[in-house]
């Protein structure tokens, strides 16, 4: 008997079930997974756009809005100049293909020494000011992780109310989850020295959100 079988056997014995899993038990679990009932959550009496903005700021992200995708390069440049940050960035290919002028943007995965990373998002969550990323061949996970500054371009149409809604929409859009689904809410932080909050532990120091209205 393997360790697996002994552990599962102990669990079954403890709950007074027979030696092997029955079809009825499997059906109970499968039905539950198919139905996906939602647990009790808070009331959400707010509007999605303003709530997302408010929560981004609460989580210490910075926030900007532009009218169209074509306005993104200018907004990024403005932000980088304002913060006196380098005008060089790595980005997802979908972002690198925008009409960049004042900034050098390379469409490649981030390395440990890249300082600015620009990504799109899969979805965003208004309840908590959260960005949701799916890893993939052209949506590198490290771009939102390694650089000190992370800029995320968020189409307004991709902002949903809750994490439950985000999962529901994701299931409609992708058949299998990618290797990594990352939810990011503001810059990296720690309070491990005397409980004093420090921004920028291992991940980015800055998360800048640019919402594209149209």
């Amino acid at each position: 008997m393997s360790a697996r079988d002994r552990i599962l056997g102990r669990i079954r014995a403890a709950r007074g079930a027979g030696v092997s899993v029955t079809d009825a038990e499997r059906a109970t679990v499968e039905n539950f997974i198919r139905e996906k009932p939602r647990g009790v959550g808070p009331a959400m009496p707010w509007e999605i756009g303003p709530r997302f903005r408010e929560q981004c700021i609460k989580m210490a992200s910075t926030y900007d809005e532009v009218a169209t995708r074509a306005d993104v390069p200018e907004a990024v440049e403005r932000y980088l100049r304002e913060k006196a940050l380098p005008l060089t960035a790595v980005a997802w290919p979908e972002i690198a293909s925008l009409p960049w002028a004042g900034i050098k943007v390379e469409g490649r995965p981030a390395r440990g020494d890249d300082l600015v990373g620009i990504t799109g998002v899969h979805l965003a969550i208004a309840e908590t000011g959260t960005l949701m990323f799916l890893s993939g061949a052209e949506t590198y996970a490290a771009t939102s992780l390694l650089p000190e500054t992370h800029i995320a371009v968020v189409p307004a149409s991709r902002i949903v109310a809750s994490m439950e809604d985000a999962w529901a929409q994701t299931r409609e859009e992708v058949s299998d989850l990618p290797r990594a689904v990352n939810f990011v809410s503001g810059p990296s932080r720690t309070a491990d020295i005397e409980g004093v909050l420090q921004i920028g532990a291992h991940g980015p120091f800055r998360v800048h959100v640019i919402v594209v209205a149209g």
């Binding site: 552990i7 669990i11 038990e25 009932p37 490290a142 290797r179 990352n182 990296s188 005397e194 291992h202």
Partner: protein
């Protein structure tokens, strides 16, 4: 730690000694008389953060009830959910391992590392690996292991163990950290937390980029998708699961949830209960290794599912303890923990949940004090996001100790004598009359007793003297009039 009972001083990096008896009273005494620990504990206020954090949940109680039901549903058919997780995870290329014991955890991990020629291991936080002293096992196998959660990194450099499950170095101050970094990094000494955090980032970044294997815990396993969920603020969980070529996650059998809906519901409470945040900075959901075309992610993903005593609680009056989602709220709100800190509890999990889990995992007789080391104020019970009735569980453990004859004879005799006397009202009346008069006379003009036998009470307090006559006497007198 400078005290003789500190695990760090005597047993570097191996944590408490689960196979010996935990001398809770001595350990607590040391911490109560350690000025540094006392300053740190005075400064510690995650309870306040939680109080502010739950303000926006008007239906908090309903959400707690829902979260508890979600956890109970997992536990009720735990094997079926685990089997479902295993099937999905395997389909996605995860290698699932099963560890019956702490030794199994270490053996499996070291075997994976050796099979892949691993030289350096980085770790995100894993309390289960603290149970098994995994770091010592990895080092014994000739590999380097580096903790990357800042708090864990600090206690690793100090050769200690975490004193809190989410704030591992809460017992240390900025000067301790400055000394450690100066010594280990060979950098100029600086005690500014901002500078120290930056320094850790710089040193750990090199490890992230050069390690062969990353070890994490697992906040949850999702049966629906075969995913592993990590909740962090620093980003070290993401680093550990993104950069090295092998990822090994270690988590308990009880951590499985049904669906992403379950996860979404529970996360609202987990992060608020822990730090008051409406969400942690990073929630990472890993489902299998790197896929075709991916530029990042590990080539191998392993999940070690650990029993090590957990299944023993299922189907017993202790089962509710397995609902625990490791937020730390019970210890953050515990008046005992707030005064003595985590190391006094002697094993991996401190505070009320530790007082329940430790005796169950390492043996009732090895942690005799723990179920008694609480005032039963139930502050833990009312803040627990999954409604674990912690005082009830501690009380049940006290009953089990009595049933097994593990309590000191003086205590058992005393309680039996009290019960015997209290069932004999006349004799009881006489005894209390004598005691009330004796107490009054000892109290004297001050009406205060400075010293009582056994010193448990009067070590730190006076005892206000009794009035002199008992209520039953005075009531009888009044009725005679």
């Amino acid at each position: 730690m400078t005290t003789p009972h500190a695990s760090g001083a005597s047993t570097p990096n191996t944590g408490a000694r689960p196979h010996s008896t935990i001398s809770f009273k001595d350990r607590a005494h040391d911490r109560l008389n350690d000025a540094k620990v006392q300053r740190a504990m005075r400064n510690f206020n995650l309870a306040g953060a939680r109080a502010r954090g739950v303000l926006d949940l008007e239906n908090l109680e309903d959400i707690r009830t829902s979260a508890a039901a979600i956890r109970d549903r997992s536990l009720a058919m735990l094997d079926v959910w685990l089997e479902r997780f295993e099937r999905e995870a395997t389909r996605r290329g995860v290698t699932v391992h099963w560890a019956e014991s702490h030794d199994d955890i270490n053996r499996i991990t070291v075997e994976i590392a050796k099979a892949n020629g691993v030289k350096k291991v980085i770790k995100s936080k894993s309390m289960v690996s603290e149970e098994s002293h995994l770091n010592a096992a990895i080092e014994a196998a000739g590999m380097k292991v580096v903790e990357t959660d800042l708090g864990e990194y600090i206690v690793q450099l100090a050769g200690e163990t975490p004193s809190h499950i989410i704030a591992p170095a809460i017992h240390k101050n900025r000067d301790d950290v400055a000394d450690l970094f100066h010594e280990h990094h060979k950098t100029p000494r600086n005690n500014d937390p901002a500078v120290l955090t930056m320094e850790a980032r710089k040193f750990l970044r090199e490890h992230f980029l050069s390690a062969d294997m990353g070890i994490t815990g697992g906040n949850f396993l999702i049966a629906e998708t075969g995913s592993l969920v990590l909740v962090t603020n620093e980003g070290n969980g993401r680093m550990t699961t993104t950069m090295p070529r092998i990822h090994v996650a270690i988590t308990g059998i009880e951590k499985v949830l049904g669906t992403m809906e379950d996860l979404s519901c529970i996360l609202r409470l987990l992060t608020r209960s822990a730090t008051g945040q409406s969400i942690s900075n990073y929630i990472t959901v890993n489902t299998g290794p790197k896929q075709a075309g991916d530029s990042d992610g590990p080539e191998q993903m392993h999940v070690i599912i650990v029993d090590a005593g957990r299944a023993r609680l299922l189907g017993t009056d202790m089962q509710e303890a397995l609902r625990c989602i490791r937020c730390g709220a019970c210890m953050n709100h515990c008046p005992v923990y707030q005064n003595i800190g985590g190391h006094a509890y002697g094993w991996v999990y401190p505070g009320p949940i530790g007082s329940v889990l430790t005796p169950n995992y390492i043996g009732l007789e090895k942690a005799l004090d723990l179920p008694h080391a609480a005032t039963l104020c139930n502050q833990c019970g009312v803040v627990c996001p999954v409604k674990i009735p912690l005082p009830e569980l501690m009380r049940k453990l006290r009953e089990k100790q009595t049933e097994r004859g593990l309590r000191p004879w003086q205590e058992r005799t005393g309680l039996r004598l009290w019960s015997w006397l209290a069932q004999r009202p006349s004799l009881y009346g006489l005894a209390t009359r004598v005691a009330a008069r004796l107490g009054k006379s000892v109290g004297g003009a001050e009406r205060t007793i400075h010293r009582l036998p056994g010193k448990g009470w009067t070590e730190g307090r006076d005892m206000p003297a009794p009035q002199g006559k008992t209520f039953r006497e005075l009531y009888a007198e009044r009725n005679r009039k």
